[in-house]
């Protein structure tokens, strides 16, 4: 089985590496789209640094929204484990991605063993206009009481909730607010569960304002469930490597963070880049089109990527090989063992080979 192609022609891995290295060496402004585990991200960022390129995650827009909650505001958070063990009142905020539903459902079958130890109650506040079928299904499974917010955005609903809990006058009201108020009185550690997909950054900041209000006299916190675990893992890895989250570039060899300037999809669209390196171990994902710039694809696909000058198949951490991934189940990184070990090379090993094939033949620090 071939794992490397130049255009649509199968070639040896060495040939593909050499061809890709030539493209990298001649590029003025290479850009890197990442979608991989910790070690793939480490090597990719190190390569971007060496080449003076810029990098972003494949889910860059969503990730930038999540990052902005922290860079602009911060907040009060807890872990999924602590929420499961301690919280008898959980309020879902907005849409929670389907990847987290199983975890929430398992919480529903348990009772807190720390804190007030009451049976757990669930509420769900959402913007009815954008409430997805998945979110509604989750709410039904958890028997969550809906905090109705007809005609309001999620941010608006949260603002109304915040005002109502402070006994301020509001022109709109949320249904079931009295039930929530009563539940808050009984609960010692209410937790609001939200995702980067829950809403705009302003809504998330409003939620944090609400939690700050509750903490003036009592305790409350929030669980942040990233829209995508691998994307959040990439953000954390980028932070320790460069000091910055993604949408970082290495112009003048020094890292700089700029969520507009280093938006890779924008750079491709606006023809600011001349080479796109697509690194996706997710499988079945395709790089964005539109820029007509040269493309190197390192992805978990069985064939060449359409339009790519060079394609190399790589494995996924936790499936094809061991690795380390972020897991929102524990709120940190965990070692993942290969569930279906294969001969597909890891992304980091391919990036290392690319670096060593570049003029100067230096190994990457990762």
């Amino acid at each position: 089985m071939s794992v490397a192609w130049v255009g649509s022609q199968p070639v040896s891995l060495m040939d593909a590496i050499q061809n890709a290295a030539k493209l990298l060496a001649s590029s003025r402004c290479p850009v890197f789209t990442l979608d991989t585990d910790v070690h793939g991200t480490r090597s990719a960022i190190a390569l971007a640094e060496r080449l003076g390129g810029a990098y972003d995650h494949a889910l860059g827009e969503t990730l930038a929204n999540e990052v902005s909650l922290f860079t602009d505001h911060g907040g009060m958070f807890t872990t999924p484990g602590e929420a499961r063990r301690r919280s008898s009142l959980i309020v879902l905020v907005g849409d929670i991605p389907a990847s987290h539903h199983d975890m929430l459902v398992t919480w529903a079958s348990t009772q807190p063993d720390l804190g007030d130890r009451q049976q757990r109650s669930w509420f769900h506040i959402n913007d009815s206009a954008t409430n997805s079928a998945d979110a509604s299904k989750l709410g039904r499974k958890l028997k969550a009481v809906s905090l109705g917010a007809e005609g309001l955005t999620l941010g608006g609903a949260l603002a109304v909730l915040r005002a109502q809990l402070q006994e301020r006058q509001v022109t709109s009201s949320l249904s079931n607010i009295d039930r929530l108020r009563k539940a808050l009185t009984k609960s010692q550690f209410p937790v609001f569960v939200f995702s980067g997909a829950s809403g705009e950054a302003a809504s998330l900041v409003m939620l944090q304002g609400l939690i700050a209000d509750l903490n003036r006299k009592g305790r409350a916190s929030s669980v942040f469930l990233p829209a995508d675990d691998d994307a959040w893992g990439t953000a954390l890895t980028s932070l320790w490597m460069t000091g910055f989250p993604p949408r970082t570039g290495f112009s003048n060899s020094l890292p700089s963070y700029d969520p507009v300037r280093w938006d890779i999809q924008r750079m491709i669209r606006d023809k600011e880049a001349d080479l796109h390196v697509w690194m996706s171990t997710r499988g079945g994902k395709t790089p964005p089109r539109g820029g007509r710039i040269a493309l190197i694809s390192l992805s978990k696909d069985e064939g060449p990527t359409a339009g790519a000058a060079v394609s190399i198949s790589v494995g996924k951490a936790g499936v094809d090989h061991d690795g380390v991934s972020y897991s929102s189940r524990v709120g940190t990184f965990r070692a993942v063992a290969a569930s279906a070990p294969s001969l597909l090379p890891s992304l980091s090993s391919i990036v290392q080979q690319l670096a060593e094939a570049l003029p100067g033949r230096r190994a990457l620090p990762c």
Binding site: T79, R84, R85, R219, W240, F244, L254, Y257, T332, R334
Partner: protein
């Protein structure tokens, strides 16, 4: 490779004090002068001071909270001056790359991250593994988790507590144990807003004192070389000197390390009810040989406070500058707070600065006082050179004092203390003593058999410049810094203890995690291979 440093003034308190002698190293290890052999590489270090590589025992350089601080403050990195050019990732503030680079340039070759939450150990070690050049180590945090508190509440045997602590230390690859405001993080989750040494954790009925004493005794029984590393209660508040005094008095013959004592040096005297109690604390430390301390010196400017003392950080939200914070109620011993802060040359800042210096200068035994700024809490570690100058020059202190709030300084003893640290005391405080405290027999001195971690400083009138830009630094015999610039990158190791796990405790932990978290223990542990570096860890022996 046989290397010789010739002509330098060697400051090596462990092996005979200061004298002019050659230093020889071969294959990464220091050796006695070989007979009849010529060095393959000779460095003339005439006019230079030669010391072992420095060791920092308390600097927050990696792990979840440090990374969250980076996330919270992308605009903040410029505060970490100076920024060297032409090094990889060199303007990235306190990225892992820059952390190793900047430490090495100052002649530091081993740094301890003192606050690793057990459940985030893998994250911490991933970060530490990406810090180039230097060796690292971590202390595992205990004392706020349900398992420890339940053992104490239920009167379980000390052997069981020992087994648990040994399991935590071993599975997290830690070099020791730290307790942070013992019991307060657990109490904060129950809406407790202040917590002192004899306060009791709700639900568990266990006092902070009981937690500290139990952990202290267990660390001692297990033969963990580094005494329990204690972040005491009531950090940073007026009157915290009483808490520190109580904690010092509680040692009762068992060693204990009290972290960042400067933040506990505050009394309630004066118009502002905020005064220096440094002289009193220094006297207590001088009188108690069981106690070692590090300072947590405050320097002026922008920084960010990072602490797993979530209760203290929550109460500091109002002082955040800029106005954004992260407060995290983590699992067990995890979590904490990230609160950016700017130390100003006002009354409070001046008093804090003076309290730290008073402690440095009034504690007489350099073997028991350690050089830290509690990076980045008191100041970034990049301010160390200026701090060395303040310790070694009373005129430098006078000059700086003249810029500060006179009312605050009048309430301290600083102006009357004329002590100046000499090179030998500096070498004890930053090399020999930390190695001894951590149980690292292979470093902190320049005797034969030690690893070849060597820092060479060009002697000059400008003390800060001397320590900011080491003339030469060798790490394990590799020349990594020349004239204050990193010339060679390499990867250090993370130093760890590896006590054998008790099988019954492993089974118990498996059951505990499955029952309480609904997840197997595999989710919380990891193999060394997860770090993806060659031999990322080096083992240090326990005392028994």
């Amino acid at each position: 490779m046989l290397t010789r440093l010739v002509g330098g003034e060697v400051v090596d308190p462990v092996n005979g004090g200061t004298r002019q002698r050659d230093v020889w190293m071969r294959d990464g290890v220091l050796i006695d002068a070989p007979e009849g052999e010529a060095a393959e590489q000779t460095h003339d270090v005439s006019g230079c001071i030669v010391m072992a590589g420095a060791i920092d025992i308390h600097s927050h350089i990696g792990g979840g909270n440090v990374n969250t601080a980076r996330l919270l403050l992308p605009e903040h990195h410029a505060a970490h001056q100076p920024r060297p050019a032409n090094t990889p990732l060199s303007n990235a503030g306190w990225s892992t790359f820059q952390t190793g680079t900047l430490y090495a340039q100052m002649g530091f070759t081993t740094v301890v991250e003192p606050a690793m939450a057990p459940y985030t150990a893998l994250h911490t070690h991933l970060e530490l593994a990406d810090i180039p050049i230097i060796d690292k180590a971590t202390l595992a945090i205990l004392g706020n988790d349900d398992f420890t508190l339940s053992l104490l509440r239920n009167g379980k045997s000390s052997a069981m507590l020992d087994d648990y602590i040994a399991w935590v230390v071993g599975s997290t690859r830690a070099l020791g144990v730290k307790v942070i405001n013992a019991g307060a993080a657990a109490a904060f989750k129950e809406n407790v807003r202040s917590f002192s040494l004899d306060d009791v954790v709700p639900e568990y009925g266990v006092s902070s004192r009981k937690i500290v004493k139990s952990l202290q005794a267990s660390v001692s029984r297990l033969g963990i070389p580094h005494p329990l590393h204690v972040h005491a209660n009531n950090l940073g508040i007026a009157g915290s000197a009483d808490t520190a005094a109580d904690t010092i008095a509680a040692t009762e013959g068992v060693p204990l390390h009290l972290a960042h004592l400067q933040f506990y040096g505050y009394g309630t005297e004066g118009k502002r009810k905020f005064s220096s109690e440094a002289a009193r604390l220094a006297e207590l430390v001088n009188a108690n040989p069981d106690v070692t301390i590090d300072i947590g010196q405050v320097m002026f400017g922008q920084t960010v406070t990072i602490s797993s003392d979530v209760l203290r950080q929550f109460t500091a939200i109002g002082n955040a500058n800029p106005k954004k914070t992260v407060i995290m109620d983590g699992d067990g011993n995890g979590g904490g707070g990230i609160v950016p802060y700017r130390y100003k040359q006002d009354y409070y800042g001046s008093l804090q600065w003076a309290v730290g210096l008073e402690l440095f200068l009034l504690i007489t035994d350099p073997w028991r006082v350690f050089f830290t700024t509690d990076h980045p809490n008191g100041a970034p570690f990049t301010s160390y050179p200026e701090l060395f100058e303040l310790l070694m020059s009373s005129s430098a202190r006078d000059a700086k004092s003249a810029e500060l709030n006179a009312t605050a300084l009048e309430l301290t003893t600083l102006a009357s203390v004329r002590r100046e640290y000499n090179f030998e005391e500096i070498a004890i405080m930053t090399r020999a003593a930390p190695a001894k405290l951590l149980g690292l027999k292979d470093r902190g001195h320049l005797g034969a058999g030690a690893i070849a971690d060597v820092a060479v400083y060009r002697k000059g009138k400008d003390i800060a410049k001397m320590f900011r830009e080491a003339a030469l630094v060798f790490k394990n015999g590799d020349l990594v810094v020349k004239n204050g610039k990193v010339t060679h990158y390499r990867w250090g190791k993370t130093l760890r203890l590896n006590p054998p796990p008790d099988k019954a405790m492993v089974k118990r932990m498996k059951d505990y995690h499955e029952e309480r978290y609904g997840l197997s223990l595999d989710w919380f542990t990891f193999p060394d291979s997860a770090i993806q570096r060659d031999a990322p860890f080096a083992e240090v022996s326990c005392n028994n």
